[in-house]
Amino acid sequence: MKNTILKEVSKIVIPFIQIFSIYIIFHGHLSPGGGFAGGTIFGASLILYRIVYGKGDAQKKISYKRLMHLMCISLIFYGVLKGYGFITGGSYIDLFEIPLGTPGRILSGGYILPLNIAVGIVVAMVMYLFFTLFYEGEV
């Protein structure tokens, strides 16, 4: 799309959207929001970049290979960490557990923060993938 105003405005707006989404993900256990809501907003910023800058520029930043790597690594990370939490949570096995910080801080939720980050990455990539499949038929 060849529109100078759109390009310049989105150059300013896209970092603020991404910062806001990261804020929502990182404060998921303290305030409203969480992995799904923040990941959706991050995916919306990627979609805006794809619409404004076109296919070539977007493929340099987010290629198909990188997208699949991010999605699969965070999905495996989610499964491993959640399974570890299930194993150590209910039984009497004395394995390592994440220390609980002081309540109210960001590092106080145990497993919730890394799980929220993994969910956010998966949701953002899936939203971008859906949009590109609807828009042009390929990533």
């Binding site: 929001g33 799904f36 809501a37 959706t40 919306a44 979609i47 939203m127 859906f130 949009f131 609807f134």
Partner: protein, 74 residues
């Protein structure tokens, strides 16, 4: 219930009827976006800001984009 919520519920019912009544497809998509936005405001009025954020991002943002680009392909 507050008067604001009643007005929003009336808007919600009106836009939900308009989605199924409008013959033009682009108009129906815009009415569906209005439905989703009013629903987000109502979630916030019902003390569920978590759902309000998700509804505003998914319902009013990405679903509308997917509908419009699918309509543009035909």
């Amino acid at each position: 219930m507050e008067i604001f919520s009643i007005i929003m519920i009336l808007f919600l019912i009106g836009s939900a009827i308009a989605v199924s009544a409008i013959k033009n497809l682009l108009g129906a998509i815009i009415a569906f976006t209005v439905y989703s936005l009013v629903m987000a405001i109502l979630w916030q009025q019902l003390n569920a800001p978590d759902l309000a954020i998700t509804e505003a991002a998914v319902g009013a943002g990405i679903t509308t984009l997917l509908f419009i680009f699918t309509l543009k392909k035909n």
